[in-house]
Amino acid sequence: MKAKNFLVLLISMSLLSGCMQHTSVEENAIIQMAGYDKGENKRIRGTMLIPQYGSSESKSATSEVYLTANGDGVKEVEKEIQKQSSKPISIGKLSVTLYSKELAEGGISDIIDILSRDPRMSRNMYLGIVDGEAIDLIESQYPQEDTTYKQLEDLIKNNARFNFPMTNLHDFLYSYYAQGMDAFLPLITKKEANVELSGLAFFKGGTVVSTIPDSNVFTYKMLNENFKRGMQNIPYKDGTIMLDNIGSSVEYELKNGLGEPKFDIRVNIKAEVNEMVGVDREANPSLMKELEEVSVEFFETNANELIQMFKEKEIDPLGLGNFAKTRKRDFDLTKWKDNYSDLKVNVKVNVEITEYGIFS
């Protein structure tokens, strides 16, 4: 009896209430990529990329639509873009967001706030800083992939396995909000017909204050995290050798308490050497010994330069402050920041070349 009444009720009610708003997937304008530049008369200019999926017969012929609007805030840009779109826009699938370096140098903390507030955003989204205009980068076609967003998403995702550190929205927000830690994002540059990762941009709060070229990215990644791939070319005498990383690990140690803190950063790199350009010598253990010493020299100088730069800009992308906080009970952030430029950091690199190919 009860179940029957209930069923009748259920069915009648469900027939009566087709009232929740719904649109099927294909009726949405699904934004996959967004880019923000400095606006012309408003603060920012947003460019959104909406892929247009072809019908079932011509699956490969996917085209893209770019919509651009100016606004003072991200939501205003969205509102303006909706005015240009024939379908309701949906930002839930946003997979890449780019900011122009110019905009980011003026501070983007309000945009970051939206990213952490909106429940519809994916935390696996990739962020990047464009050296140049984001709109140019988005509105170009790239031969490698059908769509621009795929190109950029895979570019950032796959390079995180090599020289570039992992930077998705979650990692960015984590270091953005953490105490004694600053965020960084990959720097992306548009080349003739292609797009490439050209370095890293470092934030201080919500503002980009400094960048490093891609030649230093390996050094930074090596200081920042443990990783297993990546390559670094190292000048040796007149030529260069290519160091092929097969396992790098890093260890921090805080000495001396908080009064006069001293950091020891120990890096262990296991690498292979397969290519030596302009080095006319037989590959043998003694040469490798020499190469190891050269590499250590190279990495230590580079790392010290990097850290020196961080200290000058008063940024802490390595999270040394955060590390100190977890080690010392009486950690005081303001005091730490005051003393940061005098912080002693001692980088000790150990390179071990394990293999040099199958031909000596």
Binding site: L10, V25, K150
Partner: protein, 439 residues
């Protein structure tokens, strides 16, 4: 699941029984004489008369054991005849109800005087039934290949020979006002919970219905919650399965004329167990059973999830899949829910049509329907091919259930889920799930 519920006995049946009793033997004979196959003739003068229904009685017994003796000698009493005829289990009775019942079953009735109310009943029943064959609904590759037939004696024989125990108890009841079907309650004494036996027999006795033609009639009348879409009895055609259930302490019910046995109480998990599971090594059986369970879940949930995700939560579709789904949907004029309902109904149509037609044509219909209609619908832009795959897979998955009844349940419960998905997306699906688990 097993609750105590008695159904009340109405008074109509009792009054009817009384009026039956009043009928005399002559009236009974007269009413039978309207049929051509009712035979009556007298032997040795007018004294001894033999009655039987030709189509129901075994003429071998009549010709070899009964007639020679009745012809050779004259008897003064029925008891005398009874001692001479070499047939087992004869009865001398005046009870008209019993007489009626037995004669209708094919017993030979012998009357000494015309007016005598007392008759001798000689069992000479000839029952037509097919021989034991291989199970078709619950086929298994390994293991015994015997299935129940329509004859209850054969069926009980199939069970008893697997379990030669004195504790195996069989209670017989006659149910159905018109059909008078023999219903056997079978259980293993000492293992079974007596309360269950009591409940089952009580409920069976309280059944008041004209015809009990198949065991499924009983399922619907005596189950705990007749609104539940889940079968509450395990309906099986495999004697080995019944035996293993009996050993587990369950009660089995068998109806004469039904090639199925019911066992109870049952759990939902059992409904997904195939008999193959018991013949295979445990790891294989576990994996197969898990696959089957997964298939059921997939079958119930896949189309509702399709509706929910496409209508409300398209954020959940990964980027790579998005292109596939959107491009397959881009030409479809209907919303996902309409698309799904139309396709699901098509599948149900095919299934119904296939079940009603003779086997060979049924197969053809399945193939023609599946391939031709499916491809045509996609080509015409009425359904997306992603959905076609999902619906076909979920239909396929619903066939993996070893018990036919639960397969029907799965067919049915998909639809409320689809409606729920349309209303509140995944939360609607979840609510339907709660409701389902409540019943």
């Amino acid at each position: 699941m097993w609750k105590w519920k008695r159904k009340e006995k109405s008074s109509t049946e009792q009054t009817q029984q009384k009026s039956n009793q009043k009928k005399s033997l002559t009236e009974f004979i007269q009413s039978l004489q309207k049929s051509e196959d009712f035979i009556r003739y007298s032997l040795g003068g007018e004294e001894c008369t033999v009655y039987y229904i030709k189509t129901m009685s075994d003429s071998k017994i009549l010709n070899r054991s009964v007639l020679p003796i009745l012809n050779d000698e004259t008897f003064q009493s029925l008891e005398g005849i009874k001692q001479h005829i070499p047939v087992e289990n004869m009865t001398v009775t005046e009870d008209i109800t019993l007489i009626q019942e037995k004669v209708m079953f094919g017993y030979i009735m012998v009357q000494l005087h015309h007016s005598a109310q007392e008759v001798l009943l000689i069992p000479a029943v000839s029952l037509e039934s097919r021989s034991v064959s291989i199970p078709e609904v619950e086929f298994s590759v390994v293991g015994p290949k015997e299935a129940f037939v329509e004859n209850i004696n054969t069926n009980i024989n199939l069970i008893r020979k697997r379990m030669p125990l004195p504790q195996l108890t069989i209670k017989e009841l006659k149910i159905g006002k018109v059909t008078k079907s023999r219903v056997a309650v079978i259980f293993l004494d000492g293992v079974v919970d007596p309360e269950n036996v009591e409940t089952v027999t009580q409920r069976l006795k309280d059944i008041e219905y004209d015809q009990i033609i198949d065991s499924s009639f009983i399922t619907q009348i005596i189950d705990d919650n007749s609104n539940s879409p889940f079968p509450q009895f395990l309906d099986t055609e495999r004697p080995d399965r019944v035996v293993s259930n009996l050993i587990e302490g369950k009660v089995a019910i068998m109806v004469d004329g039904a090639p199925h046995a019911l066992t109870c109480p049952t759990t939902v998990v059992e409904l997904f167990g195939a008999s193959d599971d018991y013949f295979l090594p445990w790891h294989l059986a576990t994996v197969f059973r898990l696959i089957r369970l997964f298939a059921v879940i997939f079958s119930v949930l896949s189309t509702p999830l399709y509706v929910a995700v496409l209508t409300y939560h398209h954020e959940m579709i990964p980027g790579e899949l998005m292109a596939t789904i959107v491009s397959s949907r881009s030409d479809i004029p209907f919303s996902p829910i309409l698309e799904v309902i139309v396709l699901e109904l098509t599948i149900e149509l095919l299934r119904e049509a296939g079940a009603r037609l003779p086997t060979k044509i049924g197969q053809t219909i399945g193939i023609v329907g599946g391939i031709v209609i499916g491809t045509a619908a996609v080509d015409a832009g009425l359904t997306s091919n992603v959905l076609l795959i999902i619906v076909a897979l979920s239909a396929l998955a619903s066939f993996t259930t070893p018990i036919y009844q639960i397969g029907n349940t799965i067919r049915l419960i998909r639809f409320p889920f689809i409606i729920g998905a349309q209303m509140w997306g995944l939360i609607g699906v979840s609510m339907c799930m709660v409701f389902l688990s409540a019943i």
